[in-house]
Symmetry: none
Subunit: 218 residues, 4 copies
DNA sequence: TATGAATGAGCGTTCATTCAT
DNA sequence: CATGAATGAACGCTCATTCAT
């Protein structure tokens, strides 16, 4: 599986130092971008919050937009890491799917500010960088595709192959909409309610008769 | 039904002229924002594309952000208008819902650039203006809520009241995701495929047995 | 005595109307200039406060600076008028001088905002207009010169002719400093105290022995 | 003696450099403000005349008004420095006072453009900055108060304590009026004539009999 | 006479980026 | 490697003035 990460050039040679400094940059920038937005945050602020000078900042990036890319990549990375963490072993495909969705929604909830940030600022990425971000998004979506296929294979999920991609995207968007529609959803539903109802909606159609279980009541 | 539109102040008195000029501004700005984004578009560009001078532009708005608000409001307005157009008479609730969804998704498709723009730039709105936009979004969502309740009332839709809001939001987001996920969805689905499958997903659970019909095959 | 008032051109022919409109302009502008200063006041504000449109304003003046001239001229005019009012009859030169000073200081106090305005904004006058204002200032100063000479003539004031001008300017400045140093003087002196002490200072030297009177104690 | 100077923030850290650059700014701005006035001078002109770019200018100030404050402060500072220079030792209070006045008037004459500038533009200072300027003006006035009190103490000056402040302000204003009334005074008096006559006027009343000396004749 | 919409030169200020030290 | 002073293009916005109606 090829995942060609975009290689942001740096004036500095030592890769360990690069790693360390960029983590500082990302940590500082995430905070700033969440509170002020990408455009209203200045490079000086990023440098200062990172703990070094503006000159040093530019030793590790080539442009302000690189910082945005680094940030988006980091958030994406964390989402993926956390999602994969909770995957491993589960027995049947459908069980795995439900657990994955629950976990994913929980991650979305816990990382809501970051996820929202990513959602809103991705468009400010330079056209060169954007494809890498979309690729990553597809990759994460791919996780759900795989689970769906696993369920199809083991007979616990009834779904036409042509619909696998769509269903995976639906799951992704339903997770993300918990962040970008929180202004409305939070007023009426808790995360748990939201999660179970969406699962019910998604699985109703595709759960094989045998695997159907009563929906939890809240 | 009170829908308090935000009143953007103008130096010009004649309301007809204001209407006319603001339409020019919106038309010009939508195009520019779609292609360059809000932040990368300058007020001078907006003025020029509107067909008058920068001074005249500022006779009809107070700040660049006002233009964004005007744009978002116009897009929202058109979405709502077009959606309501296709509503009126339909017989049963479920029929009405299906038609509304189909029409809504079609509008989203036709207005995809504008809708995407609205989605991405809403966050650049001044905090004062934002609530009016969210209110409008809720209002449009409310259209689907009403249809759902109508179906519940006439027995063609089986859905708990507590889920009405969620379902309406799901419909909205599914329409909008056709624009903001087009980079992925377009590769695998036509609008028609996308529409019918999402309808199937949404209705499967709530369609009363009696009203169930075979899903169209593409 | 020639006092060539600057003739501000107007597009309007009727002199009565000009007079009327310009009075409106001056009244509005004085208020605005006092509170916001000349530079921070816009022509639109002047027009609005005058009770007519910006177009009409420009029918009666040629530039914003004309308004300033009109204002300064009006203030100067009122100062002179009020000063001359209290002059007429008095018996001896020295008595007349004292009364004139008292009255002048009182006028300065009552018109302090206007006088201060005039003091601070005169420099914003176009070079063409300035001489007319300075001429007027000299004219008012001339009133005190005349009184001084009257006192010299009737023997109640002992003063060399070469010092007449200086003394007159001193009186003028002492009156005006009550406005432009009010931030300091008001903390320590009432207008009455200030007046009597300055009179004492001024007259001590020049009052003939015979006309000397004990200074009022406060 | 606390004289809390207003601390204008700077983006640059090195205080020596700040000092140096601000001196450049003040030198350039004084010249420009004298010839064009504060409002008609642009920040770009200030930057250019200072010898650096507009960006650099804003590294050392926060707003154009800061430049005005820096200018006024510098002029005030020089006036005070020059005045204090000529003070030190003199024998009697009255002698000291006369020397101080002569020196002060000379400084006013030599710095007439700057002093006039300060007089005319002080009102353009932001309300935050103004008090610092007035404080400074009072401080300089205080120099004369001290000399007056010294003369009272050593018996060479006869003056009620209640009049000390007024007399000090009179001296200040008489010095300053040489600049802002130069259009009239210069026509009739040389600086020396002006100085001696004003000294005569001021001292006539308060010089003790013993210390009276014949006024110089010009 | 009176109106007020239109104009656009010009302003103060910002901030991503560079580069000499 | 790190620093931070210097740069200047670019921006949003203002407002005195004009002129067609």
């Amino acid at each position: 599986m090829d995942r060609p990460k975009l290689k942001i050039p740096s004036m500095v040679k030592d890769p360990v130092l690069i790693e360390k400094r960029r983590r500082q940059i990302v940590d500082a920038a995430v905070e700033l971008f969440i509170h002020k937005g990408f455009h209203r945050t200045t490079t000086r602020e990023i440098a200062k919050a990172s703990g070094f000078s503006i000159g040093t900042l530019y030793e590790y990036i080539e442009s302000k937009e690189d910082v945005l890319y680094l940030v988006v990549e980091a958030i994406h990375g964390e989402v993926e890491r956390r999602l994969r963490e909770a995957l491993c072993d589960s027995k049947s495909g459908i069980e795995m799917l439900k657990e994955a969705i629950r976990h994913f929604f929980k991650v979305m909830d816990e990382m809501q500010d970051s996820v929202l940030l990513m959602y809103q600022e991705t468009k400010s990425l330079p056209p060169t960088h954007l494809p890498y971000v979309l690729r990553k998004e597809e990759e994460i979506t791919g996780i759900f595709e795989e689970i769906l296929r696993r369920g199809i294979a083991d007979g616990t999920i009834r779904l036409d192959e042509s619909q696998v991609k769509l269903m995976a995207h639906n799951i992704m968007v339903m997770g993300e909409m918990w962040t970008f529609r929180r202004w409305a959803l939070r007023k009426h539903y808790t995360l748990e309610q939201y999660t179970e109802r969406q699962i019910a909606l998604l699985l109703n159609e595709m759960a094989s008769e045998s695997s159907k279980e009563p929906i939890r009541k809240e």
